[in-house]
Symmetry: C2
Subunit: 154 residues, 2 copies
C-alpha cells in the first residue's frame, strides 16, 4: 500500500491534469496511472467539453495514454474524484491493484465496490480537488449531470 506522503505526491500529477481541464473550460477531473516503480505510465483529464467526447473520463484518458500492457495488477490509478461506475469498471476489469482518490465528497462512484472486490483504496480528502469540483458543479450543473448520466429531460 502506498504511503500517505507518496499518495499525495502522486495526486499532484492528477490534480495538474484537473487544473488543465479547468483552464480549458472542461470538467475538472484528472487522473494518472503509475507503474510499480512510481513512474507515470499515462495521464489525462476529462474531455467531454473539449472534444465533445462523452467516453473520455479522466481515468480512461490516463489508461489509454498508458497504452497496451500485458497486465495492470501492479499499477496504481490516481484520480482527483471518486471513480464513476464506468471508470470503476475499468479498474476492476483490468485488475488495477490500487486506486488513490483525491476526494469522494462531491461525488461517490464505485470505490467501495472496488474495495469489496480486493482493490486497495485510499481517499485523501484533498481540499483543492473538492474546490475544483464544487466550483464547476455550481457554474455548469448541466455539463456535470450530463457527465455522470444524470441529466434531466427527454
Amino acid at each position: 500500500m502506498t504511503t500517505r506522503d507518496t499518495a499525495e505526491a502522486m495526486l499532484a500529477v492528477a490534480l495538474e491534469e484537473a487544473e488543465l481541464g479547468a483552464a480549458e473550460g472542461g470538467v475538472p477531473i484528472g487522473a494518472a496511472l503509475f507503474g510499480p516503480d512510481g513512474t507515470v505510465l499515462g495521464r489525462g483529464h476529462n474531455r467531454r467539453v473539449q472534444d465533445d467526447d462523452p467516453a473520455t473520463h479522466a481515468e480512461t484518458a490516463a489508461f489509454r495514454a498508458a497504452g497496451r500492457r500485458p497486465h495492470y495488477h501492479d499499477t496504481v490509478m490516481v484520480t482527483t474524484l471518486s471513480p464513476c461506475w464506468y471508470c470503476s469498471g475499468l479498474v476492476r476489469q483490468f485488475g488495477i491493484g490500487e486506486v488513490i482518490i483525491g476526494e469522494a465528497a462531491s461525488f461517490s462512484g464505485g470505490h467501495e465496490w472496488l474495495a469489496d472486490n480486493g482493490v486497495r483504496i485510499t481517499v485523501l480528502g484533498d481540499l483543492r480537488c473538492a474546490e475544483l469540483m464544487s466550483e464547476f458543479i455550481a457554474r455548469r450543473p448541466d455539463v456535470w449531470f450530463e457527465d455522470i448520466g444524470e441529466a434531466r429531460g427527454d
Copy 2:
C-alpha cells in the same frame, strides 16, 4: 422491451462491426447504440490491435460515436459479446436502459449485475458471434487475455 426479431436485426449492425474488426486483424467484437426510434446513434468495434488502444472496446467505441446526449435512458446498447466490467460500468453510469447481447458463452462479463440493477438484458445466443470469438481466442489467446486484463506474466 425489444422483440426478438427486432433485437436480431439490431444485432446485425453490431455483427457487421465485429466482422470489420476481424478483417482488420483485431479483436472481433462490435457494438451499436440505438435510439428509441430504432436509429443507430453510434457504432464501432474494439480497436486494441488496430490503434494500440486498450481503452476502446466495442461498446465504448459505439458510445463515443453517438456523441454527447443529455441522457441515455431510452437508448439500447447492442453488442456481440457479454459486456466486460468496463463496458458494464459504462452502461450503468450512463443509465442505458437496455442491452442486447449476441452471446455470453465465450465470455461472461457484468450483464447479470446490470440486470440486478434494472437494465433490461437479452442474450440471443448467436452462433456467428460465438464462432468469431472462439476462432479469435484459439488463434490469438495472448491478445484476448490482454483485452480482458487476464494476461499472465509480470
